[in-house]
Structure formats: structure tokens, C-alpha cells
């Protein structure tokens, strides 16, 4: 990423306007052409610097639910369990972490009852008990990562 890419990433974390030509609006703020901005955003998405670009929906506000859950997976079973967990559409993302609880994943479902159903499915398919840690409260401050040119 060059300096301009960083400026674009930082600016686009601040929000994107809901107007007929939003890229033109942001481009003029940054002193760019609309087409250049669109092309650069496309490249940043293609090369994975942006994991996505668009609205960030809050599932709970739509009646859905999120939970953070974890498994203690025996080393030898790790790949098999990863396949089982990742195959579920309810699993939005999963990470391996250096801990006794070595697999952590976020469940996102369309109803609160969907979380329990997904947990049951994972327990049944893996034979492992799920540590289910739904948030009780979020202390939310919308902070952005700062992109710096290397």
C-alpha cells in the first residue's frame, strides 16, 4: 500500500456517504478523480487489504444474535474439527488461538434461538463441549485502525 492507499483506507473507515455518487464525493475531498478512487478501492479489496467494503450490519438490531464460542480441540483432531465448524453458515469467522481453548469462533444467527441450535449442532458433529460466551454488554467505541505506509 502506498501513502495514497493509506489515506483512502483511513478515510473510508470514517464512513461512506449515502448520496447518488458517493465515490465522487469522497474523491473530491481527497483531491482524486472518481475513477481513480474506484480503481484503488477495487485493488485494495482484490489484494485483501480490505476484507470488505460496504454496510456493516448489526445482526442484533435485526432480531438476530451473535455469540463468541470456543472449543478445546485435541491437536490430532484440529483439521477435522476446523472443517466441521467452518462448514456451518452460522460461523462468521473462526481463529486458532494459543490457549487450552484453541479454537474460537463467532456465531451469527437470525434468531437468538439459532445460537443454541448452532452450538448443539457443533457439539453433536464434533463430540466436543462448546464454551458459549454470548456478550452481556458491549463497551463500544467505534475506533478505526490507522493505516500507515510501510
Amino acid at each position: 500500500m502506498d501513502e495514497l492507499d493509506c489515506t483512502i483506507v483511513n478515510r473510508l473507515q470514517e464512513g461512506f456517504p449515502v448520496v447518488a455518487r458517493p465515490f465522487a464525493a469522497v474523491a473530491s475531498e481527497l483531491g482524486l478523480d472518481e475513477d481513480d478512487l474506484i480503481a484503488r478501492v477495487g485493488r485494495l479489496v482484490d489484494k485483501g487489504a480490505l476484507s470488505r467494503f460496504g454496510p456493516m450490519y448489526q445482526v442484533e438490531r435485526m432480531g438476530g444474535a451473535f455469540s463468541l464460542a470456543a472449543l478445546r480441540v485435541p491437536r490430532a483432531a484440529f483439521d477435522r474439527v476446523t472443517r466441521i465448524v467452518n462448514a456451518l453458515p452460522e460461523v462468521a469467522h473462526s481463529y486458532e488461538r494459543a490457549h487450552d481453548y484453541n479454537m474460537w469462533f463467532v456465531l451469527a444467527t437470525e434468531t437468538p434461538a439459532g445460537i443454541a441450535a448452532a452450538v448443539a449442532k457443533i457439539e453433536q458433529a464434533t463430540g466436543l463441549p462448546v464454551l458459549n460466551l454470548p456478550k452481556l454488554r458491549e463497551f463500544f467505541v467505534d475506533l478505526k485502525l490507522t493505516a500507515d505506509a510501510p
Partner: protein, 171 residues
């Protein structure tokens, strides 16, 4: 216990959610492209997106950077066993620290899990995360009885939210 309630979305809102959850089209008039895909007027799509923003159904519209691509290689989930009577007050202070990207109060699950406060801390390497974790420890002081930091060693899946037709986030 969650302080958020579901907000009624109608069928047209849901079509917009489904059409945009993977991202906005990268064209000069992205909302017009969405409008064509869902069979609504562009003004109607923009009005509905703005309403969802105002209601918090959409947290924001914009870019979601990949931490790793930004040189953030150490991603530590710090977990804390904090006095339940003080967790709201302390969680709010930890959540306000500039380097904490997400902060949550979660249940304990004895005997397996004793930690009730979670704070995500990112850094270019682990040493940077450790310095930040020490700052949190200072802030919590005697209210903290135990702590741990779980570093991610691999991303196994990252698709974000996918709803089918009814609804469907980031973390």
C-alpha cells in the same frame, strides 16, 4: 440482558441487506446498482439505507481493513476476571482506551472459564500488545483477580455475516 431489541425490517429492507452484505458494487453509482438488483428506485434504496444507519441496524458504511494487511500481526484477546460489581464501570473505561478495538462483558462458565471482561488488543508484534495489556492491568488495579491473553495464531475462516433471505456483521 442485551440492551438491543430487534428493529422491524420489511421485505424491501431485507432485499437491500441481502444485496449489500457482501459489499457495495464498485461503480460510480453503487446505490443505483443496488436499486436495480432489488427492484426499487435508487432514492428509495438510499432512504432505507439512511434509515438503517440512523437506527443502528447499519453500524456504518465503509471499509473494513484486514488487520494483517495493515501490518497488525499480533492480535491478542485479553481476558480478565473482574469484580462483577465493577465490571460495567471498568468495562466502559477499558473500552474507551484508544488501542482497544472491542470490549465486552461476557458470562463466566465455572469451572471452565473464569474471565468476564474481554478486550481485543492489536499490535505490530506481541511486545506491543503486552505493553498495552499492562496498561489495562494498571487501569483495573485490584478489581482484577486474574488475566490471560489469547493470541490468534491463524485465521481459520473470515466471511463476515451472511444472511439468507431474512436478515443477517463484523467483529
Amino acid at each position: 440482558m442485551n440492551d438491543v431489541r430487534g428493529i422491524a425490517l420489511d421485505a424491501a429492507d431485507r432485499r437491500i441487506v441481502v444485496a449489500t452484505q457482501a459489499g457495495l458494487p464498485l461503480t460510480p453509482e453503487p446505490y443505483h446498482a443496488v436499486a436495480r438488483a432489488v427492484g426499487l428506485a435508487p432514492e428509495e434504496v438510499m432512504r432505507r439505507l439512511q434509515r438503517m444507519l440512523d437506527l443502528g441496524v447499519i453500524r456504518r458504511i465503509g471499509a473494513v481493513p484486514n488487520h494483517y494487511a495493515l501490518g497488525v500481526r499480533a492480535n491478542g484477546m485479553s481476558v480478565w476476571d473482574v469484580d462483577d460489581a465493577r465490571v460495567n464501570e471498568l468495562g466502559a473505561r477499558v473500552g474507551a482506551l484508544s488501542f482497544v478495538s472491542h470490549c465486552y462483558h461476557r458470562p463466566r462458565v465455572p469451572p471452565h472459564w473464569r474471565y468476564n471482561l474481554f478486550a481485543m488488543v492489536h499490535g505490530r508484534e506481541r511486545g506491543e500488545v503486552e505493553v498495552k495489556v499492562a496498561e489495562i492491568a494498571d487501569l483495573l488495579g485490584v478489581a482484577c483477580r486474574a488475566q490471560d491473553v489469547l493470541y490468534s495464531t491463524r485465521i481459520l475462516k473470515k466471511t463476515g455475516l451472511r444472511i439468507k433471505t431474512v436478515l443477517s456483521a463484523e467483529c
